[in-house]
Each structure stands twice: as C-alpha cells, then as structure tokens.
Amino acid sequence: MSLLDVSGVTKRFGGLTALNGMDLSVGKGELVGIIGPNGAGKTTLVNVVMGVYYPDSGRIAFDGHDITKMPPHRRAKMGLSRTYQVPRPFNDLKVIDNVAVAAMYGSKDLSVEEARGIARDLLEHVRLAEREYDYPTSLSVVDLRKLELARALAQGARMVFLDEVSAGLVGEDLKEVLSVVKKLHEGGLTIAMIEHVMKVIFNLAERIVVVMNGQKLADGKPSEISSDARVVESYLGRRRAEK
C-alpha cells in the first residue's frame, strides 16, 4: 500500500485550473521525482497535499487515512512535511530553535529541553551544528536549505516534499545538499522531489512522475521517462539524451 495517495484532485483558482484530475501515489521509502514545465501545477500539488489549499474535488490519503480536508497542522502531526522553493525559516528564532519548534509541535509533543536536544542532533546530522545560535538571516542559501531539511526531520516526518531543493545551487553546494538528501533517504525517509534540473533528478530518483497542465502525463523509471515520446516532445526535448 502506498504511503501517499492522491486521486483525481482538481483545484481551481478563479478562472485558472491548476490541478485537473491529478493522480499520484508514493510508496513508503521511495524517492520519487516530480518534473514538469513551469505552471504545470507541481507546487499547487504540494500545497494541496500539505493542506494550504483544499481541493475542489478528489481525494488525498496518507497512510490509509483520508486527509483531504484536514487542517495543515494535523497533517504535520501525521508525518507530512515540506521544504519551500524559497526557504521560509522563522527569522525571529535562532537556528536551533527553528528546528526545535518543529520538534515541539510535530508528531510528538515535546518540551523545550527535549526538543532542543533533538534539534542539536539533527543539526549535526545535516552538518549545520556550528551555526546553532545564529539567526537565519545570516545563513547562506545552502545552509537555509539544510535548515529546512533538519526542520522537516524534527517534525518526525515520515515523508517530505522537497520543492526545488537544488535551485540556485552549483558545484560543492549542490553536492552538499544532495548528499544530505541521499542520507535522509537511506535513513528511511520517503521523499518526493520537485525538480527542474534533470541531471539531479534522473540520478537520484527511483521513479519519476511527469506533470503537465495539472495532470499526470507519465509515471515510471527514469529510463522509461526519458524515452517516452510524449514526454520528450512536450517537455524534455532533445535533452533526452542526458541522464
């Protein structure tokens, strides 16, 4: 049984239909890539799964429970989390408290001391420990991305949506963030990655879902996707040779 099951979800904003009968399922422990052109509905999909918006129709189930109309904080307690395309840390809290607050209110209700202990460990895990007492405003993009990963973990998340975690990063920075992602996946975390950089996603993902016009266009292994004529024609173009 899949951990996350999105079926037939439609979401409209006024005259714009962002999601049009979207289907997606993610199995426990999988690392799924979600690709598609801008405006295809990828971020809306994440927002609907997380509860920022409620769908106009369709159903979302997590671990067998229907979460379609559940408020966001309860979804978090069930184990869903996300990172943002543009990092959204809590700027008034120190780095360690950014992570700690997620531990305090996530799937377990922890006290301040317990939460800070967990936060410290997690910051070690993502190699951000030396910035514990700084404020997010002084962090680089790489560190902010790692902070969001640590925060998602601190929630006790079982699944995390990474929204373009590699955006704007190159070279060592990119390697750093991706190695953390890999590490988390190896630790058992279920991951759905929205990506634009094909090289990244084709290397990491076990499975790729192509989203176009608010719908699922294709779903399969990276090799299948890159040779799928529809995908090539409408999205990948001649870059299908790149893997």
Partner: protein
C-alpha cells in the same frame, strides 16, 4: 508572509530573563516611591502608567502573534463595566470584582479571537475596530441602561483599600502582567507564537495549530485589557463612561498601540519604556482636553500624531529597538559571543 515585517520582531536584549524581571520590578518600585513622595497628582499619573502598561501589554501580546487589534478598547471597556456592574448591581466585593470582571474580557477575547484567527492581515484590525461602536451602542442602549446607566455613566464606590495603597497595588498588578508576558514568551507556547507571527503558513506546516493558539492569545489579551479597564475605574476615575469603548473617539483603542510601537514592541520592557515616556503626557492632554482650554490639548495631539507618523516611518521598532540595536552593535564590535539564550 508575515504582515509584521516591521512591527513584530522580537527585541531581546541579550541577557537572562531574571535580570530583566528584576530590572522591571525595580523600575516599577522606583516609579511608585518617587511619585508617592512627590505628591498626589504625580501619584495619580503613576497609577495611569500602571494601568496603561497592563493595557499596552495586552495589545503587544496580540501584535507579537501577528494580529493587530485596532479595537482593544472593546475589552478595556468591558472590564470597566463588568467591574462596575458586579460591584453596584450585584454587591460584589471590589477586591474580588477587579479580578472577576476581566473574566468577561477573556471570554469576549476568545470569541473575537476565534473569528479573527481566520482573518488575514489587516482585516483583523478592521474587524476589531468595527466591534467597538457596537459595544458603545450596547452600553447606551435602553435595554441595558438599568445596569449601565446609559450615556450618563456609572459612578462606583471607593475602592476598599487605604488610598496610599492604591499605587503599590497597581504596580503589583502591572508587575504580574509583565510576568505573564515573560512566561508566555519564554515557555514552549512562546515559540509557537513567534513562529506564527513570523510565518503563519510555515508554522502550520510544522505542526502548530495556529487557529488554536491565536484564539488562546486573544483570550489572554482580553483578560489583561479588561483588567486594565477595571483598574482604570477602581483606582483612577471611579467612573465608567461608554466612550471607554473607543467610540466615537478612538483614543482608547489607539493609545496602547502608540505606547507599544513608540516604546518598542516585541519586548515587554520596551512597552514599559513607551508607557512611562508617553503616558504622563497623554494624561495631561486628556485633562487639558476636558477642561476649558480645549485647544491646547488639540495642539498636543497634533504633535503626538506627527510623532507617531515619524516613529513609524523612521524607527518601526520603536525607541527600545534603537537601544537594543545600539547595544548589540557595541557587543559584536568588542567580539562578544552571541549568548546562550
């Protein structure tokens, strides 16, 4: 995205919270002692400082959770009337009524908070504002006049403490309110409120029940504002008027905003600074305005308005914000570490 980019940031002067609490206690004690020795008018002014400190704390608590109330006078006046009605119509002991009356403020706060928690941004301000005329109309309505004495207002009996004890009593209440805010900020709930203020959507994503916390905070704020209203009547005016609802004159709703913002929001010490600096002036203006030389008071309010505009434009974190920034820049210059808070 937090609407309080300028107004909500926590200003923590580096240093333990115990030191700050002692500092505030000492400051309140000094105000009490000096005013008492100075005379009866300064004592009265000092009492208003205590009252408006509690009132301003109630407002800044909300603002630090991302909700800007422009109708705080609703709770203030509720506290005043509840106190008066409990004492006069139900014969309650004023010492009990001053704590029991504000419970109505807390209840109203919970209701208003429940609704406001759904509203975004400045709509909370408009909504809270829109409630104050209704409060006023209720107070002067013929239906409630038997209790509220309508537009004429209620006169309450003397508070049953020796008059020399009034100021120390107010100061004690002010300190208690400060402790409440301190506790909220430093305990687990404070982290949630800070996150909500910063980025409400992200706060929800990490598991914080934003609507619940916003409602609770409104309840606490309602209690504190109503307590201030009860104190105002019991220890200062001995008289309740429907314009305490901040209608048609919005001053009662706006003063806690002024004090908090000019003094420095995000920190209860900053709010104290703002109250101490501005309240004596405001009290003088108010008595000016209600006497013959009306226009002197008006001129002073013009200056006040200008001051508010200038402070908001140039120093959105208030005077305390400047102080904190200055101290922090001195610290980093001398290589001080970012503390262990």
């Amino acid at each position: 995205m937090s609407m309080n980019a300028d107004t909500g940031k926590r200003l923590k002067l580096p240093g333990s919270m115990y030191i700050k609490a002692v500092a505030v206690a000492v400051a309140l004690a000094i105000i009490t002692a000096v005013s008492t020795m100075w005379g009866s008018y300064p004592t009265l002014v000092a009492i208003t400082i205590m009252v408006f400190y509690v009132y301003s704390l109630s407002w800044s608590l909300l603002a630090d959770t991302g909700m800007v109330s422009l109708g705080q006078a609703l709770f203030f006046a509720l506290g005043s009337y509840a106190y008066g009605i409990f004492v006069i119509s139900y014969g309650m002991n004023p010492l009990v009524a001053i704590f029991a009356g504000p419970v109505l403020g807390a209840l109203a706060g919970l209701v208003v908070g429940f609704i406001s928690s759904r509203l975004r941004d400045w709509y909370v301000g408009i909504f809270t504002f829109a409630l104050t005329p209704a409060g006023y109309a209720l107070a002067v309505s013929s239906q409630l006049s038997p209790w509220t004495a309508g537009a004429v207002g209620l006169a309450v009996p003397r508070f049953p403490l020796p008059s020399t004890a009034w100021l120390p009593f107010s100061a004690a209440l002010a300190f208690a309110a400060y402790i409440v805010i301190m506790l909220i900020q430093n305990r687990r709930i404070g982290f949630a409120l800070s996150a909500i203020n910063d980025d409400e959507t992200a706060a929800g994503t990490v598991g914080i029940n934003t609507r619940f916390y916003k409602t609770i905070v409104f309840g606490i704020s309602g209690y504190l504002a109503a307590l201030a209203g009860a104190m105002f009547v019991a220890l200062y005016t001995s008289y309740i008027a429907p314009d305490y609802f901040g209608y048609p004159d919005i001053s009662y709703s706006v003063w806690p905003v002024f004090y908090s913002m000019i003094g420095g929001m995000g920190s209860p010490e900053g709010v104290l600074l703002g109250t101490v600096l501005l309240d004596p002036v405001e009290t003088a203006i108010r008595s000016w305005l209600s006497s013959i030389s009306v226009t002197g008071g008006n001129l002073a309010l013009v200056i006040f308005g200008l001051l508010l505009v200038i402070v908001l434009l140039k120093a959105p974190k208030g005077i305390y914000g400047y102080v904190v920034r200055y101290i922090e820049s001195r610290r980093t210059k001398s290589g001080g570490r970012n503390g262990t808070r």
